[in-house]
């Protein structure tokens, strides 16, 4: 991962503690990849550590909204901040209890019998590049004053 990680802070810090390679600049890219590929057993061990890290703490993604908000280059005014706070609180109240139960092992893992469409990083893998997720940030921006806290908005 490159030097400009601002999103997914908790996840990136955790991965870096599990030996993810932090590239300080593009001039280090080749050296870092050559070194990574040189020792395949060490690379595999690193990947396994990262896999354990990614699957052991799914609740880390629960903070994606405030993290995205805080790193958005389009700073919000007080009304938008209040609205974002309200939405965040509403999401936490809805998502928090099941996540707490899952962390405690009270909520059994269930495999659904039907496909689930998620927009945003509600689950690992994000929204994919389907037509609606791609269009929704632009459409939302065109009809509302709230800057979208999306990867597109962050990259803009």
């Amino acid at each position: 991962m490159g030097p400009n990680y601002a999103n997914f802070r908790a996840i990136t810090v955790d991965l870096l503690t599990h030996s993810a390679i932090h590239i300080a600049g593009k001039e280090e890219l080749a050296t870092a990849l050559i070194e990574l590929l040189r020792d395949t057993s060490a690379a595999s061990a690193m990947g396994e550590r990262q896999e354990r890290s990614s699957t052991s703490r799914p609740e880390q993604q629960s903070g994606a909204w405030p993290q995205s908000w805080s790193c958005s280059p389009r700073r919000a005014g007080p009304n938008e901040t209040a609205l974002a706070g309200f939405i965040h609180a509403a999401l936490c109240s809805r998502i928090g209890p099941p996540q707490f139960e899952a962390r405690r092992g009270w909520e059994p893992v269930r495999r659904l019998r039907f496909p689930v469409v998620s927009i945003g990083n509600l689950s690992t893998g994000g929204a994919e590049k389907r037509r609606w997720p791609l269009r929704s940030p632009g459409l939302s921006r065109s009809v509302a004053c709230l800057p979208m806290c999306s990867r597109e908005a962050t990259a803009a």
Binding site: M1, G2, P3, N4, Y5, A6, N7, F8, I11, T12, L15, S19, A20, I21, I23, G25, K26, L29, A30, T31, L33, I34, L36, L37, R38, T40, A43, S44, M46, G47, E48, Q50, E51, S53, S54, T55, Q61, C71, N121, T124, G125, G126, E128, K129, R130, L134, R151, E152, T154, A155
Partner: protein, 115 residues
């Protein structure tokens, strides 16, 4: 596997690619730009580079063939990136060499792919 790349990052990857190939000549690279509207621009960049490359979207109209060492595949299809990470020996997660904040590092990590 270089996923969710943004403008300028593909150029950095292509600059680094010959050095990486010198050390590991058996490699191939899958390059997946983050935004589909940039597929054409990245294809032009690849064409200018003089490196061997192909477009994933063209595979549907061609007989199957194995990847050639050194080949770069432009992943210009929708919805395949997350699963393609599982095939990688190593992954670079885009949006992080430029000031964009980085994309989801869990996508390769969930498959145990070092990043």
């Amino acid at each position: 596997m270089a996923g969710s790349t943004l403008e300028d990052e593909e150029e950095s990857l292509l600059d680094a690619w010959p050095s990486i190939l010198d050390a590991h000549p058996q490699l191939a690279m899958l390059l997946a730009p983050r935004h589909p509207e940039r597929f054409g621009a990245v294809a032009a960049l690849l064409a200018e580079s003089g490196l061997p490359w192909s477009r994933r979207s063209k595979w549907q109209s061609m007989p199957p063939k194995p990847l050639v060492p050194g080949e770069i595949v432009l992943l210009d299809t929708i919805g395949e990136l997350a699963s393609v990470y599982s095939l990688a020996a190593a992954a670079f997660v885009g949006g992080s060499l430029v000031l964009a904040g980085g994309h989801n590092p869990l996508e390769p990590a969930q498959f145990g792919v070092p990043s």
